[in-house]
């Protein structure tokens, strides 16, 4: 009996299996290369940082140079303060900019704005620090929490703007038309119907931007500066986790190195938490938008 015409010759079948296996192997290796660094980071942070985490890390101020112990309570609060201030600066400009792009801008204007936003996204973060240093630190003759918040906020603007635009464009045109046909003014249609429909997506974009800037160090070096004590006045320098990690890790003291690892672990956990929030939010976004 003849072999089925659909059956390849054994030699050809072997060659094909080998080829398929080889390509699959290469792809798996590439995928691992993408995930592996994340696990390396988490592994080292846990090994080095977890043992150094103690209650005093979260509750105490840094000890004077040379003394063992103390914590980064002020840096943790400082980072949260700076993120809040960055949100106040970055979200209005970003969201309204995104609304302009999605609802009002002409194609020509939009091309330029998007181009500008993409360039801004690529501006090295230390350059943001230098610019804000010139605008807010030099004239007021002091480093300040305000300057740090503004530097981070400016970095948020292009990120928030582009994601806002993207989610607004996803809102079906039919909602806009339905609202306009009710005799509702256009700006109210946009603010109440369109933005509200896309609100979860915009919120997700804001959190993504926060996660992106939470670990920025360079823009804070020339602006927030850092502070070994509690900040009681936003016009004065403030501490932040990245700054404290930077200062401690280049120091010559073992105890400070230990605390730098702990700080890195806390910062990483904060960013991971923000990213997980995004995942949870965007999971049920599929259904409502």
């Amino acid at each position: 009996m003849d072999a089925s015409p659909y059956l390849p010759s054994p030699r050809f079948a072997r060659w094909r299996r080998w080829k398929s296996g080889a390509i699959t192997g290469i792809l798996v290796a590439c995928a691992l290369a993408v995930i592996a660094p994340l696990f390396l980071v988490i592994y080292f942070l846990l090994v080095r940082g977890y043992s150094s985490l103690d209650w005093s890390f979260f509750t105490q101020l840094p000890k004077p140079t040379g003394e063992v112990g103390g914590g980064m309570a002020n840096a943790i609060v400082g980072t949260l303060t700076l993120l809040a201030m960055a949100t106040v600066v970055g979200v209005p400009f970003g969201v309204f900019g995104g609304i302009y792009l999605a609802e009002y801008g002409s194609d020509r204007a939009n091309d330029w704005i998007r181009f500008a936003a993409d360039v801004l996204n690529g501006v090295p973060s230390i350059v943001w620090g230098m610019v804000v240093y010139l605008i807010l630190v030099v004239p007021f003759k002091t480093f300040s929490a305000y300057a740090g918040g503004v530097a981070l906020g400016l970095m948020m603007v292009p990120l928030v703007m582009r994601t806002t635009e993207e989610v607004l464009v996803l809102v079906p045109q039919s909602y806009r038309e339905a609202a306009l046909a009710l005799g509702i003014a256009r700006w109210k249609v946009i603010m109440v119907i369109v933005v509200r429909t896309a609100l979860k997506g915009i919120g997700t974009g804001v959190i993504v931007a926060l996660a992106r800037i939470a670990g920025e160090t360079a823009p804070l070096l020339f602006t927030a500066l850092g502070n070994n004590f509690w900040n009681h006045n936003l016009k004065e320098p403030i501490s932040a986790l990245p700054l404290q990690i930077f200062a401690y890790s280049i120091s010559p003291y073992d105890d400070w190195h230990r605390q730098a690892w702990a700080g890195a672990l806390v910062l990483m956990a904060l960013i991971l938490a923000l990213n997980i929030t995004v995942r949870v939010l965007s999971r049920d976004r599929q259904s409502t938008l």
Binding site: P172, S174, Y175, R176, E177, A178, A179, L180, A181, L182, G183, I184, A185, R186, K188, V192, I193, R196, T197, L199, T288, L289
Partner: protein, 287 residues
């Protein structure tokens, strides 16, 4: 799109139809009847999307408190025409228009006319039901009023019930008013959209193929509703479904390639049209 036959063939057994070249202007017989109030008085109305002319010199008088159906094959300009009745084209870049379009005597495209105010009087229901997904049934109905500044709770409550009753939806949703509008069935959603349009108290309702996404039972409900609406409202309905036009309209306008070919009483259009193109379309020979 199929091209029109030069002369319409007469189907076997059909009443003889005058076969004549299409007249240059639409035959509009003696519609509307002298005594009727005119809702839309439209003269030489043309519209362009960029270079492409979508409507050519439409002249038509649409009577108040009648149901006027607009029929015609895809791309004939019927939706374009409907959307120009409440200035929905304003946001489409590159549109241009000529001629006059008066609504109860007021020029809708006159200088300084507020399109938002126009749309409060000329409401619109769309092909696909589109209740706002973030809002409850009650909020959907009341959003037009609220965003136009109505705060009085008793008025809102009254208008909510009145609009839903008018849209024949009250009995089905009166206990679900806080549920999301999108939780309703397709036909109920479309009636919710009608209630939403009625709540701002327009005098005219435009409907753009309101039943094309609905099953026959839901369609019948909407058609019944159109019959009751006609007592208080001027209704202009675009439909692909000729039976629907025949069932629920008083007047029918046939559009073809951006022109108004014929406008007459619905019975006349469907039984004894004056124009061979109309005859060919309503008898199903093209379109």
């Amino acid at each position: 799109m199929s091209t029109l036959p030069e002369t319409a063939r007469i189907p076997a057994g059909a009443a003889p139809v005058r076969v004549a070249a299409a007249p240059a202007t639409a035959s509009t017989a003696d519609v509307p009847v002298e005594a009727e109030e005119v809702a839309f008085d439209i003269r030489n109305f043309s519209m362009w999307y960029g270079q492409r002319q979508a409507l050519q010199e439409i002249t038509i008088k649409i009577s108040a408190r009648k149901v006027t159906a607009i029929i015609g094959p895809s791309g004939c300009g019927k939706s374009t025409f409907l959307r120009s009745l409440n200035r929905m084209h304003d946001l489409t870049p590159g549109t241009r228009l000529e001629g006059t379009l008066r609504h109860f005597g007021n020029d809708l495209y006159g200088p300084g006319i507020d399109a938002t105010a126009v749309r409060r009087r000329v409401g619109m229901v769309f092909q696909k039901s589109n209740p706002f997904p973030t809002m409850s049934i009650a909020d959907n109905v009341l959003v037009g009023l609220r965003l136009n500044g109505m705060r009085d709770r008793s008025v809102l409550q009254e208008r909510l019930e009145q609009s839903l009753r008018m849209a024949a939806l009250w009995d089905e949703v009166k206990d679900l008013l806080n549920r999301p509008g999108t939780s309703l069935s397709g036909g109920q959603q479309q009636r919710l959209c009608i209630a939403r349009s009625l709540a701002v108290q327009p005098d005219t309702l435009l409907m753009d193929e309101p039943c094309s996404a609905l099953d026959p039972i839901a369609t019948a409900k909407i058609e019944d509703l159109i019959q009751t609406l006609r007592e208080k409202y001027t209704v202009v309905i675009v439909t692909h479904n000729m039976q629907q036009a025949a069932r629920c309209s008083d007047r029918t306008a046939f559009f073809y390639m951006g022109r108004l070919i014929e406008f007459d009483n619905t019975r006349k259009i469907f039984t004894n049209p004056s124009n061979p193109q109309t005859e060919a379309y309503v008898s199903g020979r093209f379109g």
